[in-house]
């Protein structure tokens, strides 16, 4: 689906390299009537910045190549995307990482392993 053509529905960009997680996100958010866009690498995520901004980004940190932090920084630097809520969803659970994420402008930080997928969905809706 082309992000530019999708109308009416809420758009969510999922930056995640694990295919299983991606699948889970897809099922869950399409169920909630989101238009789900996926980037499996940091570089792919950056390509999205040229396009229309989404309503919320779910960002994983451990990405091959360009890291999630770099993506976050790029989003926040981007004039159009800078106000898009970015929720970090990572299994890096150290306080330093959380703090760094918040410092770089993440709207929230969730540790995947500790959270149910419903909790994730609830949080996402909250930031829309």
């Amino acid at each position: 689906m082309n992000i530019d053509t999708a109308i009416g529905k809420k758009k969510i960009l999922i930056v995640e390299d694990d295919s299983f997680i991606v699948k889970a996100y897809q099922i869950r958010f399409e169920n909630d009537n989101f238009d789900v866009f996926i980037a499996t690498t940091g570089t792919d995520a950056l390509h999205y910045l040229d396009k229309e901004p989404v309503d919320v980004v779910l960002l994983d940190l451990m990405l091959p190549g360009v890291s999630g932090f770099d993506v976050l920084m790029a989003i926040r630097k981007n004039n159009i995307w800078k106000n898009v809520p970015v929720i970090i969803l990572s299994n890096l659970g150290q306080t330093e990482d959380i703090q760094r994420g918040k410092d770089l402008g993440a709207t929230d930080y969730i540790v995947k392993a500790n959270a149910r997928i419903n909790e994730v969905a609830d949080k996402v809706k909250r930031y829309l």
Partner: protein, 809 residues
């Protein structure tokens, strides 16, 4: 060496000399005084004498002149001259003349007629002679009585001619009476005058012709130089016949005659002939035109003074002589005591200390004698004392000598022994050299760097590995203080010198080891920084304190460790991702809205699978935490914390877990409130949480869990807080006790009651508690309950700048 002149001689000489000196001075004074006075006196005398003599001479001559004049007035003579000159008359005239010459004043006395021819004379040879040429005749014929000095033609003798005209009754001059005084006027008239004795007397006429002189060489000379006119006159007058009348050259005298004023002229005269100084007196003989000239040599004038002078000199000399003898003799008397003293001194210095001297002169010498005796006494005493001391010292010395002899013998033995030792020492040296080389070899072969520090932390020994690790040459290391070449860091912070382990080795005297977990780095003065592990140990050798430091560059190990740690981190995170998908899919499965709804049984299976995956998450979390603690990367941020409040919040985080099992938690603190201590809340929270979680799961339902926090006192002020959680539960059996803190260990009873337990919780608790310097233990009875204890020092946790916190969200 001075010439020894005796005192006596000195005194005598001095006395004599004084007499000489003062005598001379006196003499000189007297002489000059007397001289000038005498001179003046003599001059006065001369003046007086001269005047007297002159007046005497004048008077005599005057008388001669008067007699002649009287004769000229005799009537008989007048008659004679008026008549013709007859022999009878002549005889009577001659008698008359001789009558008048009773005193033999004249020689002769004669009468000239008006033609100047002698008619009557006491000297018959005169009769008939023509004396008309004479001025006494011519002048008399003019009526003048004259007095004139002439040398007689007939007699050839000098004389003073007095003429007087014979005046006839009618007033005409009929003849001249002439009387010649030719006696030695000087002798006659000026006899007895003391002037004659030493000087000369002259009688001169106005021309300065010496008519009489006491000295023959002056007679018939002229005083000064006559002018030609005068000479002519005199020669024409035939006054002095053919006498040459040479000048005496007494010009001054001549001048005095010429300018004579009437008063005696007294002056100093330098005799051109004799070159003597003379006093000259020139005085006019009154009633004559003669002058009396007296010459007296000054020397003879003041001769008496000379005599006095000589007399004085002789007196002085005599007195000098007399005095010298006198003094010489007498002084001996006075000085006798001195020679006695001298003798006494000689005796005493020769050693006769008992010699005493007796001087009873009652003066300074007497005193000196007394003092001498006193001194001799003292000397005797001190000498005696000295002798005693010397004797003592001598005996001491002899004793010492003996002991020195002994010592010498000992020394010789020692010498021999030393020589032996030296030999041994030499062979020992060789041995040591060998051993040193051996040691060097070992040091070089060591796999680690080695320093030996002295007690001032200077590097006294290093091995090649040390040089390699530090990338420095031996000369940059040896002798330098360690802190000059190496800076110690713990993590990112520089460790001050006092806190350095090397210092502690000395101050605490124990071995200190540091490995990767201590997180030490060394930065060399060249800037090379590397992680370091070392062992430092004190080494005392022969009282000298040294320190041995063996160290390694841990770079590789650190990298390995970091790799391993990040591996653990990454791995645990990698494990979590699939787990997450498992959990989420199971969740969605169970929800039923994303897939078809499940049957009860299916739901049951799914649930179990979900729980298993949850357990796995728990295990992974715990593993992660344990890995962090064990890697030494744990961050500790202590903040002032109230343990009771922290406990309450941990309890709250459990939600209704305790209510579900109907467990009551009681928290009690001693004291209340607890002192606030520095605690990292995450770390402490984890410990409390793990223990509470155990309490929750292993305690029975409807039981009470008592949390007790007590501040307590340890030894030597090491106060701590003891935290205990007591439950009433399954307890821990004896066979499980020793292994309860092992990773993954589950006691049998625990396995049975809580199958999902991981067996990691207590392991983490132990790591954490011991990490902050506390102790963890338990008391338990199987089937009754367990109480877990841990302590925390009252000082709290030490801050640690690690990389990660304990919290795993």
């Amino acid at each position: 060496m001075h010439k020894q002149i005796s005192l006596r001689n000195k005194i005598t000489a001095f006395t004599v000399g004084s007499i000489l000196l003062f005598g001379s001075v006196a003499i000189a004074i007297v002489f000059f005084y007397a001289r000038s006075n005498y001179y003046a006196l003599r001059q006065a005398d001369i003046r007086t004498e001269v005047l007297e003599q002159a007046s005497d001479i004048g008077a005599s001559l005057e008388q001669a002149k008067r007699i002649v004049k009287h004769i000229a007035s005799e009537k008989e003579l007048i008659r004679y001259l008026e008549g013709d000159a007859e022999s009878s008359d002549r005889a009577r005239i001659v008698d008359m003349l001789s009558h008048y010459n009773g005193e033999r004043l004249y020689d002769p006395l004669y009468v000239l007629d008006r033609s100047g021819i002698a008619t009557a004379s006491l000297d018959s040879t005169f009769v008939g002679n023509d004396y008309s040429f004479r001025s006494y005749f011519t002048n008399a014929m003019r009526g003048e009585s004259t007095a004139e000095f002439l040398i007689g033609v007939t007699s050839g003798k000098a004389g003073y001619y007095f003429s007087s005209p014979v005046i006839s009754s009618d007033g005409g001059i009929i003849g001249v009476v002439v009387g010649k005084v030719s006696r030695d006027i000087g002798n006659e008239l000026i006899s007895g005058s003391f002037l004659i004795e030493n000087g000369s007397i002259m009688i001169t006429d106005t021309d300065g012709i010496v008519l009489y002189a006491s000295r023959a060489d002056q007679l018939y000379h002229s005083i000064g130089v006559l002018s030609d006119e005068d000479r002519d006159r005199i020669t024409g007058n035939r006054q002095f016949a053919n006498l040459p009348l040479t000048s005496l050259g007494y010009n001054r005298i001549f001048q005095a005659i010429r300018t004579h004023t009437g008063t005696p002229d007294l002056f100093d005269f330098s005799n051109p002939v004799t070159h003597e100084n003379e006093v000259v007196a020139v005085v006019a003989i009154p009633q004559t035109d003669l002058f009396l000239v007296v010459q007296e040599s000054v020397v003879s004038l003041i001769a008496p003074v000379r005599i006095i002078l000589f007399g004085l000199i002789i007196a002085v000399l005599l007195s000098m002589l007399a005095t010298s003898i006198f003094v010489y003799v007498l002084v001996r008397q006075f000085l006798a005591p001195l020679s006695r003293l001298k003798f006494a001194a000689e005796r005493i210095s020769a050693g006769a200390f008992d010699y005493r001297v007796e001087i009873k002169t009652g003066d300074e010498l007497g005193k000196m004698g007394e003092q001498f005796n006193v001194m001799a006494d003292r000397l005797k005493n001190s000498y005696a004392g000295l002798e005693r001391t010397v004797a003592e010292k001598t005996s001491e010395l002899s004793a010492k000598l003996v002991s020195i002899e002994q010592k010498n013998a000992e020394l010789r033995d020692t010498q021999r022994a030393v020589l032996n030792i030296l030999e041994d020492a030499r062979s020992l040296e060789a041995q040591i050299a060998d051993e040193r080389n051996h040691l060097r070899g070992i040091l070089a072969a060591m796999g680690e760097g080695l320093f030996v520090l002295d007690d001032r932390y200077r590097i006294v020994l290093s091995n090649p590995i040390a040089e390699r690790i530090l990338d420095m040459q031996a000369d940059e290391i040896i002798g330098k203080s360690m802190s000059d070449i190496i800076t110690l860091y713990k993590g990112k912070e520089e460790v001050p010198v006092e806190g350095r382990p090397m210092v502690k080795v000395f101050t605490e005297g124990k071995i200190i080891a540091a490995d990767l977990r201590d997180d030490f780095y060394w930065q060399t003065s060249k800037g090379r920084k590397f992680p370091v592990g070392f062992i430092a140990a004190p080494l005392t050798v022969g009282g000298i304190r040294n320190e041995v430091v063996v160290f390694r560059n841990l770079e590789k190990e650190k990298n390995l460790d970091e790799a391993r740690t990040s591996f653990i981190s990454i791995t645990s995170h990698q494990l979590r991702t699939p787990l997450t998908s498992i959990k989420w899919f199971l969740e969605m499965l169970m929800e039923g809205s994303y897939a078809d709804p499940l049957t009860v049984k299916q739901r049951e299976f799914a649930d179990l699978a979900y729980q298993a995956s949850e357990k796995m998450v728990g295990i992974i979390n715990l593993l992660l935490q344990i890995a962090r603690v064990e890697s030494g990367r744990l961050k500790v941020l202590p903040v002032p914390t109230d343990l009771k409040q922290l406990t309450a919040s941990i309890i709250a985080s459990f939600g209704n877990a305790f209510q579900m099992r109907k467990q009551v938690i009681i928290v009690q603190t001693v004291p209340d409130p607890l002192p606030v201590i520095q605690i990292d809340v995450d770390v402490m929270g984890q410990v409390i949480q793990n223990l509470l979680s155990n309490a929750n799961r292993y305690a029975n339902e409807n039981s009470t869990i008592i949390i007790s926090i007590e501040a307590g006192q340890g030894e030597q002020g090491s106060d701590f807080i003891t935290y205990s959680i007591a439950d009433q539960g399954i307890g821990i059996g004896k066979n499980a006790t020793s292994r309860i803190f092992e990773k993954f260990y589950r006691a049998e009873n625990a396995l049975r009651s809580v199958p999902e337990g991981s067996g990691l919780g207590l392991s983490l608790v132990k790591s954490l508690v011991e990490g902050w310097g506390g102790r963890v233990w338990f008391e338990s009875e199987e089937g009754k309950g367990t109480t877990f204890f841990f302590t925390i020092p009252i000082g709290g946790m030490q801050a640690r700048a690690g990389e990660v916190g304990i919290a795993v969200t």
